[in-house]
Symmetry: C4
Subunit: 223 residues, 4 copies
């Protein structure tokens, strides 16, 4: 019985999740490096700090978005049980785009009125989402996920992951008309994601089970 | 029996604590990046290093404060056993304010005679505390904490978490009179926290049990 | 029976892998710091971004290469079960060369037409590989690896680890004729590594067992 | 029986070790940020890189030293089984001095002929050692370490930890005569530490048992 439990060394997702957490943590923290302490006369500090506002807002936006991807990563890896070399590389591709976000954020903060900068930021988000869909689909099709997920549930996860890049694709076009509107669109999915409660969602749809693997342990009486 | 133990993948707080530890670790280390090696003639090095003193002191102060929040985070998560999406986001909000501290620290070091800079630093601390109270209250009210904590114990933790922001709120006002006094006030709670011993405190109040979950394992004879 | 399981504190590779993952994660993320947001007129942003292209490509190349070494590190430590002080230091030497890569990357991005810079980058890769061969050979010869690896398997791993430095040694010479060709050679092994599938490879050669310790758990019926 | 095993949440050293590993990993990697890519004409690159040599050597020296402290930290925490608040703060003090090393390293690289800079570096090392002695003594005297260590073994560890600061104290004085000699002295203990083999040492003295908790698991026949 105990022999069927795989050797701890074989739980390859452990280190995959460890390095991903590390990369997400550093990316989250590097975002603040773009906010430079102004080099001004103390009497003019208030004015200088006001000028930093776009950088602070871009920092908060990107912090929200990196967290959004970290949350998604964690939820997806709750269902991914095994790892292979391809999954490592799909995951690396995802991390590559996440790591690029501090640069895109700095660009957005500096050129928030320029459609080009706003679109590079949006493209970066789209690539983050696309790569997360890739590693999820690969894991699902290679039998690396848990057995208790049906094909419909796997597909529903993909649909959910598609929402953010689709909204951002619209934002890419909107940016040419109004960059502020585009930036607000980037906020839509993460904020919707934050606001939708676990309980309401769980009552709604079966896929939410994927998101809340803990629910079972919440009903200790059923054990 | 063994079946009631939840699957390791379901221990969602594991990765929540991992990314938080990562963010705290990077934030602690980034603080030193604000202390720049002076670009001076070797004969004038001493004078240049003396000019760095505010940066070194601000670094030490913030190191103390980030550690204070890490300690609190670790103590709170000793009692938080499960995670859900809201908790992830409340925790993310807490990390956002922690990650902002390296910037506030740089600002404080550069403008330690300017009330505005000193107040931004204090406000940052208050937001760190407020967000930690939020995730604690959410966890307690959503049944994510251990069952052996009474409502009174939960409330006592909140009161303890309120001490630091209340002292800092006073410091915000004091800063307009004397910035040095305000900065000393920022030190009060962390230092009081460091000095209060575990044993003395444990003898005093029941809530300290929350802080010292290890005590049981210290009395092996009682097992 | 249960008594033969070593105490968790004794699994020294746990922390060795933890600090390595941390170093790899920070190195991956620091790479992006070399891509600076241009300080230009918004109307000239496109032209300025085009000038950043070498930096973006160097970033992607190094991200690929650091990941390549992280993957190798993870695969090797799947077979390394115990640690001793020498292994810590061989591993530290490996990390030293990995940590140096962000500098080499910046140098490559800035001087991609200069053979000297391209060669320093290649030398850095060779040193990363050489040090990973060193810690693997040390571990194998000191009985720190799993018992189910034959001497031939250990040697095959060394041969595989030698491919990348040998290709890079050729690239070092090529750089004096054509720096672009040399940089393309740096890509060869990582891309070959990404493309070679786990299943095809597993059918081919026995050593791949080393790479896919998970295969056993993939056939639950055989347990 | 199973009840005597402490709850995983109670293993407080887990997160203490996690944040320490994170801080050490970031500190190791930040060291490279001090080596700036030269802004020169390609034809003069070689000369510019030669000027970077002090920075590269200071990087390698500090990498060695931070690793030295990480190794010591890991060895000490192999014997520290429980944590309390004081230990958290002693450990934080240790990390504070470790985090300061990237600054001291930059200072040393820039002013390696100036006794003041060389002494600040040495003082930093002494403080790292002093704080590690403090947390070890505190842990030993508060019953946080394993029971199978005798008082003599605890004391021998302290003596071993004292070697490095004593050598550095000599280096502080030597720096006023010859800075290069002082810097070579900083290398003595870490290199002696690297070179002394685990087996030779284990045959010599009983305390080495503390360093090699894995030895027992190396003799599977004795289980």
């Amino acid at each position: 019985m105990a022999a069927t439990r795989p050797h701890p060394k074989a739980q390859s997702t452990t280190r995959l999740e460890a390095i991903s957490d590390g990369v997400f943590a550093v990316a989250l923290t590097l975002l603040v490096l773009d906010i430079h302490v102004p080099d001004a006369d103390p009497s003019k500090l208030f004015g200088e700090l006001v000028k930093l506002l776009p950088h602070v807002l871009a920092f908060a936006l990107s912090f929200l978005i990196v967290n959004f991807y970290w949350t998604a990563h964690q939820v997806l890896f709750n269902s991914i049980q095994r790892s292979d070399r391809y999954l490592l590389w799909f995951n690396a591709l995802h991390l590559l785009f996440v790591v690029f976000l501090p640069f895109s954020t700095g660009l957005l903060a500096e050129f928030h009125h320029t459609p080009l900068a706003v679109d590079i930021y949006g493209l970066n988000i789209i690539l983050c989402s696309a790569s997360s869909i890739m590693f999820w689909l690969y894991a699902a099709h290679s039998g690396l996920i848990t057995d208790n997920l049906s094909r419909d549930e796997v597909r529903l996860v993909v649909w959910r992951l598609l929402i953010n890049p689709l909204v951002c694709a619209v934002a890419l076009c909107v940016a040419f008309l109004n960059t502020t509107a585009a930036m607000l669109l980037y906020l839509v999915t993460p904020i919707w994601y934050v606001l939708t409660g676990p309980d309401a969602a769980a009552g709604d749809r079966g896929t939410w089970r994927l998101r809340w693997p803990l629910r079972r342990s919440r009903k200790p009486g059923s054990g």
